[in-house]
Symmetry: C2
Subunit: 336 residues, 2 copies
DNA sequence: GAGTTTTACGTAAACGTTTACGTAAAATGG
DNA sequence: CCATTTTACGTAAACGTTTACGTAAAACTC
């Protein structure tokens, strides 16, 4: 038998309204009754039932997070930030990993609707018409994390990927590299795909460097993808002195394959990654990478959700700054 | 205005009871009314409110997961498995990362109690008296994941850490190593600490190998911990030919420091890790490691929770098998 | 000290469901 | 065709809260 507000009321000889007022400290009771009721609460070990509360308040104090992969380190950091802030707001987080599977995503959205969640963070994946319409009907705040939508007015939190890729490429050029390869991830990826390629091409163009045969698009962003793609790159363009990889895992793949081919990093080949996940520093040699403030971004996205919940208004998107985290995988070429 | 069962009832000219019966397909209505009601539901876009349901059924269809670190790759895999099964059971998962912080843990437990969660998976940390008493009062099923409790009768899912450490050590010995070092993680850790040390010592003892000066206990299981610990190990025992690290991250730290010291892996030094997280295969050279079926363990723990929920009985603990995943960080010593 | 305001409550409806119970009509049995 | 069972519903209570409204007493005001 769980004990309810009624039990407290009865034992304290007051009405449930009074108990409720005291629990939520709303005005309308004397010091004495407060003391009495508090004692009874303590004695009985009463704890309010959030479900009953939610039924009235129409707030579940829960937000939903949709992510394509749970295991990727990117996601872990996002989630860590999200979870952090949500907890500060007294809410909890339901993580839904969609595996980039449309059916699963829709199932999860239905679950979230049933559960009456207060907001949604939609991360790292394309916001399709179907998803958007569904969420719109749910009528809860949405924030995009590390993704964008061109078609729908949904606020987002991300870095400027094209700019970041530009910066990374410029960095290699400044270090004296001329023949630079790029391993891009999935081309179709709206945020981590084409924009990074564009940034790369742009930097090369501006510096009048050729780009033919320099880009290999892998089918994904993983380690194995990086290995395969690098093999292709080095075959079609054996003279590259540096590689810009669109993710740290891709970069690790590059490094690993290079190692097998007896190409020394950074002496024979410089490598720069993207994301600066914890992996990067564990690499041999430690990987220079384009850093995004991942957990901060997760935090910001969550704060935006709560701002939208509380003010009932939309909120401005945020572009976060990136930075080059220098380690030891890039070498300065001596000018000849 | 969200539309409720009442709206459906009114529009379909039936009582809410009938609508409810149809929605939950319990008997008691004719084919015709069913059709009619279903149409109205479709037309109005009605979806039942899980909060209201939960109030009556006293089931929130939510389970809580307490983990010390969110970002560690171990946890990601556990969570992935958990999430998987929970979703199959139509439930969602609230992840609470406690940061091994007692106060935060208690706060989370309170949150979970308020939310009336149906069960708790408690992972990778010591179950203190305080936690246990609290959860016991909550009166929901608990399963320990990758941890144990000697004092309380709580079912667990884990591997036999001592045995696994024994196997890893035996493996190195079979490969011809005699002077083997161990980098243990936090000694106080009840599951990943002492048991692994014991397994190591046991294997060494059985093979009549000395163990003095061979064990260094790091303050944690991370990369930096591994670096530091290895420095200490190599100082106090420069002749080790192999190292058993109590986690893959520790092992990576060892490899990195070794690399800096120009100690070649595996030629000059063999290294074996523990956990076989995705990191292991990305290492240079790829890391041989003691593998645990992480996501399967998460799945099993979750299945156990639901079994306990549904049968109202406790359930048997499960020890999962471990295996040595051979890669390239261990070398066979030629017999002299 | 009469009138007004404030304080300190209690009553009861509401939130959106499920479900025990009741009942009229339909189906079945002999 | 009457008695009995079954079907197909409807009514209303219950789940555990919050809160609008009402009210008697206490506290002020001048």
């Amino acid at each position: 038998m769980t004990i309810t507000i009624k039990d407290v009321a009865k034992k304290a000889n007051v009405s449930i309204a009074t108990v409720s007022r005291i629990v939520n400290n709303k005005p309308g009771y004397s010091k004495e009754t407060e003391k009495k009721v508090l004692e009874v609460i303590e004695e009985l070990g009463y704890h309010p039932n959030a479900i009953a509360r939610g039924l009235i308040s129409k707030r579940s104090h829960t937000i939903g997070v949709l992510v394509p992969k749970l295991s990727s380190m990117l996601m872990s950091e996002f989630i860590s930030g999200i979870e952090n802030i949500a907890h500060q707001f007294g809410s909890s987080v339901i993580i839904c990993h969609t595996e980039s599977n449309g059916k699963k995503t829709m199932q999860y959205l239905e679950l979230l609707r049933e559960k009456q969640i207060d907001g949604i963070i939609f991360s790292s994946e394309v916001l399709t018409e179907e998803y958007y319409q569904f969420m719109k009907k749910m009528d809860v705040p949405i924030v995009l994390l590390s993704t964008v939508s061109f078609d729908y007015p949904v606020p987002y939190v991300r870095v400027d990927d094209q700019h970041a890729a530009y910066t990374a490429t410029e960095y290699l050029i400044k270090k004296g590299h001329r023949n630079i390869g790029m391993i891009s991830g999935t081309k179709e990826d709206v945020v981590a795909g084409q924009p990074r390629i564009d940034g790369f091409t742009q930097a090369m163009d501006r510096n009048k460097l050729p780009v033919t045969n320099n880009i290999v698009a892998a089918p994904g962003f993983g380690y194995e993808d990086g290995k395969e793609a690098f093999k292709q790159l080095i075959t079609q363009n054996p003279d590259v002195t540096a590689v810009f990889a669109a993710s740290d895992e891709l970069a690790l793949g590059v490094i690993s394959t290079a190692y097998q081919m007896d190409i020394k990093i950074p002496d024979d080949l410089s490598v720069i990654g993207y994301d600066n996940v914890s992996l990067a520093e564990m690499s041999i040699p430690p990987l220079t990478s384009v850093g995004q403030p991942l957990s901060t971004m997760g935090e910001k996205a969550t704060e935006m959700i709560f701002e939208m919940i509380n003010t009932n208004q939309s909120v401005e998107s945020r572009i976060f700054p990136h930075e080059i985290v220098e380690r030891q995988s890039v070498k300065e070429l001596k000018k000849e």
